[in-house]
């Protein structure tokens, strides 16, 4: 390690909410040496992003730094004017955001955006900067590095765009880069490319980095040292291997133990007839874009069938076809042996009631202007004509079932946390007394510990209520935890289908193998070993 680069002392940050300033970071000390990678890890609300960008002397609107010192290579950033800090930002410290798609200007070519910072700051001339860009694109193994810069952001894939953003952060050869969840929005197979790219540039240029994430397995691949944060406080700090082998705090142990949940397999003595049967299904979006081809699928009663695949594999479309939101162009969906009408509009109230759906984003799946009484109560009134005290009693019963207090009934949905909202979505589905629940990425927008609680809840409900689940996810850890059967999808087709044990034990289909091997493990050498293995193979 080199000399000390960044020293932050007693950093305090407040955020404005509900008409008052509330502390969100409570006196954090932090230091970083040249060439060192520091991992900041914690759940949402831990203040990790806020701390990360505060090292550039910046806060998001509605936040303010109220105390502490930030010393960057002898420059007291906390005491500098905006103009002075601007000299450092982008040149000596740069930032890589979570969503590359939202961070690029869609109206300009990649290379224009790459060269903007060095040219604006007067570090490099345009031609030199563009030349560097092509070099660094090649380093990051972007396809056709000489010309990819002439594309617009929407013309490259998500993983490529994220790598282009890493390249952009390197444009002035900064001393430090802040990576703010750069791989969270990516598929596992794409995540590997980006992680490898980041690791490569950081070691090659001896750049110091702060890597912010909620995924411990990701950060251990890169970080030399890890700080575990919670509610704006430091929980634990030590070297990466140290923290994995010998975590001191309970919370750290919980984070390490995450994704160890697995349901007990049960022999349910399957009935003769599958509950849902999908036969030779084809579907296309308007304009004739084919998204599903030749899908055959059986879902047995009281089982959990997990559909796995990357974004664009058509797994969510499959859910839309089964619910009737997208009528198939060919093929049938059978329910208890009878054919379901293709469009939900033609299905009976009872057919609609029996198949319920839970969504990825509880924020947009719940009407923000409704109280829980109405959210959960409406299906009760609609399907079972419950009203008054009877309905109220049942809503409270359902709240209890999803482990929320009964007095929440008068809350509006935005007053709940992400995990609580997802529970409400589950309660709303349960209110209809369904036979099947389709879960579309229900845990991927949640923190890992919260997600695990949701999985446990779904598992418990399955046992208590004999529920059948169709579980759509890109997260193989979730699949391992709860599936009875696995369907692997790729580009609108089913590539592998079978009981969990069968799909997860070799020999795999090539694509299943790729998916399985791409899931990060809590082992600092995992990425290096994997990349080495892939190169030799």
């Amino acid at each position: 390690m080199g000399e000390r680069l960044l020293t932050v002392r007693n950093l305090q940050i407040e955020g404005f909410a509900d008409d008052t300033w509330k502390p969100i970071v409570n006196g954090i000390d932090l230091h970083l040496d040249r060439g060192e990678v520091l991992g900041l890890i914690g759940e949402s609300g831990a203040g990790k992003s806020t701390i990360g960008i505060a090292t550039m002397g910046y806060t998001r609107p509605g936040c303010r730094i109220v105390g502490g010192t930030i010393d960057f290579d002898g420059v007291p950033i906390h005491a500098q004017s905006v103009e002075q800090v601007r000299e450092i930002r982008g040149v000596r410290i740069s930032y890589v955001a979570q969503s590359a798609a939202a961070s690029f200007n869609p109206a300009h070519k990649l290379i224009e955006q790459y060269t903007e910072t060095p040219v604006q700051h007067g570090v490099l001339k345009y031609h030199k900067a563009a030349q560097n860009a092509r070099m660094i694109y090649a380093r990051l193994e972007l396809p056709d590095p000489d010309n990819i810069g002439n594309r617009y952001p929407h013309q490259v894939s998500g993983g490529q765009l994220q790598r282009a953003m890493v390249a952009m952060a390197m444009s002035c050869e900064p001393d430090m880069i802040i990576f703010d969840e750069p791989t969270t929005a990516l598929d596992v197979t794409t995540q590997i490319e980006v992680l490898a790219a980041i690791k490569d540039v950081v070691t090659q240029f001896n750049t110091a980095a702060i890597y912010i994430t909620h995924d411990l397995a990701v950060v251990v691949q890169l970080a030399d040292r890890i700080m575990v944060l919670r509610y704006g406080d430091l929980v634990e700090e030590s070297g990466t291997r140290e923290i994995l082998e010998n975590p001191k705090e309970q919370y750290t142990r919980e984070l390490l133990a995450v994704r160890t949940f697995a349901k007990n397999p049960e022999d349910l003595g399957l009935g003769e007839q599958p509950l849902i049967e999908v036969n030779d299904l084809h579907a296309a979006y308007s304009g004739g874009v084919k998204v599903l081809e030749d899908i055959n699928l059986k879902i047995d009663r009281c089982r959990t069938v997990a559909v796995v695949g990357e974004s664009g594999s058509g797994k969510s479309t499959l859910a839309r076809v089964i619910t009737g939101l997208l009528p198939p162009t060919q093929g049938t969906v059978k329910y208890e042996g009878g054919e379901l009408p293709g469009s939900y509009k033609k299905r009976s109230k009872d057919q609609l009631r029996q198949i319920q759906m839970i969504y990825q984003m509880p924020d947009v799946a719940l009407n923000p202007r409704q109280k829980l009484r109405e959210v959960i109560g409406r299906p009760l009134g609609f399907y079972f004509q419950l009203d008054g005290a009877e309905r109220e009693r049942r809503v409270k019963e359902l709240l209890e079932m999803i482990e929320l207090p009964g007095n929440y009934i008068d809350r509006f949905t935005p007053e709940l946390s992400g995990g609580q909202k997802q529970r409400i979505c589950i309660a709303r589905a349960l209110a209809a007394e369904p036979v099947v629940i389709i879960c579309d990425e229900v845990t991927s927008a949640l923190d890992q510990l919260v997600a695990e609680e949701i999985l446990k809840l779904l598992d418990r409900l399955q046992k208590e209520l004999n529920m059948t689940y169709l579980f759509i996810t890109h997260d193989l850890a979730t699949v391992k935890a709860i599936a009875d059967e696995i369907v692997v999808m790729l580009q609108g087709r089913v590539v592998e289908h079978g009981p969990k044990e069968e799909v997860l034990t070799p020999p795999h289909h090539d694509y299943t193998e790729l998916l399985l091997s791409s899931v990060p493990e809590m082992d600092p050498d995992w990425l290096d070993n994997l990349l080495a293995a892939r190169v030799s193979a």
Binding site: F16, D19, P61, Y359, V364
Partner: protein, 278 residues
Amino acid sequence: MRFWNSLKRAGLPAHIGIVIILIFAFAALFAPWLAPYGESEVVEPVPWATPEESGTVLGLDQLGRDLYTRVLYGARNTIALALGITVLAFFMGMTAGFFAAVVGRWVDHLLSRFVDIIMAFPTLFFALIALSIFGTSIPVMVFVIAILDSTRVYRISRALAMDINVMEYVEVARLRGEGLWWIMRREILPNTLTPLLAEFGLRFCFVFLFISSLSFLGIGIQPPAADWGAMVRENGVAITYGIFTPLVPAAAIAILTIAVNLVVDWFLRKTAGLREEY
């Protein structure tokens, strides 16, 4: 409580606006008790008598009626009409807009093109034609202006509803088997209410100015009923003699318009989630 809190933090311009609106509302509601004379009662047959000459607050108008009384009654007529028209316009515009957004396809096309056609004509021109065909009665005027205004409301409601319509909670309601009316009323309406309320304030101003200009042209509220626009027109000549009488109803129009806009600005800022930098 929440509303009260945000009201307290609204800032000086919004507070001024609210106070002015309250004063005007009070004047409109209690005009018969506040006014010293009858609505069309001639105090003295002296046109444009000054306050000193006639012993009244603001002097007399062109027929010798008390100007102060006329302004109070004018508030009553103009504001009540404008409010009624705006409510009607919003009801029609929102229903049609939500309907078009939720049903989509050809219904949306049909309604939207129909609205485009109406909007293609200048509003005043359209109102003039309609009022000369159907006669200048109050119900006709209310209906004509409401329809013209509802086209603007339709546009906004449709755009807002389209955003909400793609939300998953609407999808959930659809998959539950909910009917159209329920989706419009319970899922879409509450989520579009804040921007539409702000728009309501703005539209109210426009309607109000529109009535005034119709009255100014002589096809709005008919004499002897008091109306600010008509009062400006009737007394307009006086300005050439250096008499301030026509300025009083004109000022009333201006002040109320500004006040409503101040409140609407605050409302819009609140909806847009924009905050002053701390």
